[in-house]
Amino acid sequence: MKKDETPITRQKFIEELHRYRKGSVTRRHFLGVTGLGTAMAVLGGALPMLRPGPALAGDIGDRVILATWPNYHDVANFDLFRDQTGAAVQVNVFGSNEEMLAKLQAGGSGWDLFVPTNYTLTTYVEADLIEPLDLSKLPNYDAAAFEARFAEAGTVGGKLYAVPKNWGTTGMAWDSGKAKAPFTSWKEFFDVTRTDFSGRTIVHDYQLTTIGSALKYFGYSFNSVDPAELAEAEKLLIEVKPHLFAITSDYQPPMRNGDAWLTMCWTGEGKQLNRDLPEIRFALGKEGGEIWSDYYAIPKNAPHRDAAYALLNFLIDPQVNTREALAHGFPVADARVNAQLPAELLNDPILHPAAELLNALEFGAAATLTDPNRAELMARFKSA
């Protein structure tokens, strides 16, 4: 990506394009965030009914529908699941929790299993959209294997509704070649944006992290719904807006091609950027910020409930989940899996930050997601 001052060659263009694609097909994928992304990928065989199924086929049906995030699985695992059970995994890719919620609220999603983030679970339970899990059908689930903070959101009102999938953080990524000093705080993030990095910074098109990080600038809670605190955050965001490169969750392409120098960034993507372009660094704000945990949950009225349980049980099998983690790279909460992962992955400072940084982080709260004032603030900021 660097030091080719000469006009771009044909080959370089193709490379560039590939990177674009690669960059754009990540978690919080653009397609998803913009709402276009009910893009449906059919994995594990487009026409499973035509395939002679193995012996077990009759037990759970021939298909199971999974709603998840982009690049969040090892496709080979789905093939294996189909070969073992006869049920083909059909994957619906989504870009935001809001969109998943909107789809389930509208009814008739047709999903058997989906991947909500921690702060949405109480909303799903209250709206009676997901069902408590029947642990007898999940022999691979071992509550003790999970670090509490990444698993506790799965239990609502004493009932287990969801099991942890992966966790991560939200920090900032920047081009170290352009920065005078490494970024360490959200204060620096917003201040440098208004000076040296004017026109080069990206904030998420996502109220949770964008407003949350602005709140952190003033030292308030990431989850604040206090009107006075939100007003301060809004003032900051509107002041910063003319200096932004973009408001988008599809920040990898401009970071990769050098248009943007600084962005809010989710762990896994920070890792991907840093791996491909070592000059791009990732850090958490020392004031704190978001930590998140994704879960598997089963919607009420899942059309293939048996297959949903079978797939969930299969995916939390430590062997299977290890392969998943190696494929997508996100940190795993399951100690049984971590025991099998290579040390350099577990010691990676981006994926597994130092404890004191991690302790400053907050999980998003359900109220943060549903608070109408925050949603409206974000909209005002965008349309300002």
Binding site: G35, L36, E98, Y206
Partner: protein, 285 residues
Amino acid sequence: MAISQRMARAILLAPAGLWYAVLLVLPLIVVLVYSFGERGAAGGYAPAFTLAQYANLGARWTAFQNTLLLAPAGTLAALLIAYPLAYFLALRVSARWRTTLLVLVIVPFWTSILIRSYAWIFLLGGRGIPQLLSDLGLGDLRLINTPFAVLLGIVYGYLPLMVFPIYVSLEKLDKRLLEAAGDLGAPPWRSFLQITLPLSLPGVATGSMLVFILLMGEYLIPQMLGGGKVFFVGNALVDLFLQSRNWAFGSALAVTLVAIMLVTVTLYMRFLKRIGAARDDVGLM
């Protein structure tokens, strides 16, 4: 016979009628009803009868401003580019090349606008055209994520919709009328203004209407080429329905947009009619 004819007509019109009833009228009624409601506690819609959503429209003033500025500007720009192109294709190109060139005008439509917009992100991004310009010593230009980029994307995306109606009206223009005008003493530019242009107005009207209406609801291009900073009403709608899930407010916004479009389109039709009608009134001069 009369009955069977009427029945035949009913049968033939039924699919379209049903289509409009189910996919246009019903949703519009739903949206209208929702627009007087409230946001549900966890988002969505809660029944109510309030004008609060309409009272709050000012909160999306910028979106309306951007839309009402860039949609006409985009339409105009598309018109200014499409007209000479259509003119060239209809009147200046030999029949042998015409088909090929017409196909070239449509070819971009064979690819998703999403893919094409990504291409523009690359072209307008720092390593695209700005890099070229700076290599030529033309300074540091920021193109991507600006209103200009959105305008460019809009014009690029909707150009064929403007070119084709104009092309058709120019193509069916009786070329002898131009000879007649020339014969009567009109130099080419005057016969263009007095004959070609007025007679191609139906194409201009159709093209402008198509592009304008689509631009009023445009969402994708501002999202992609505006970097989320150039906000159209369409973007506000997507946010309201998919992000903040305030269906009531979103409905009010949608109803307002539809109303603005209806008014604009009606005024535009009136204006076109008046240009036509004016000639009747002139009578003998």
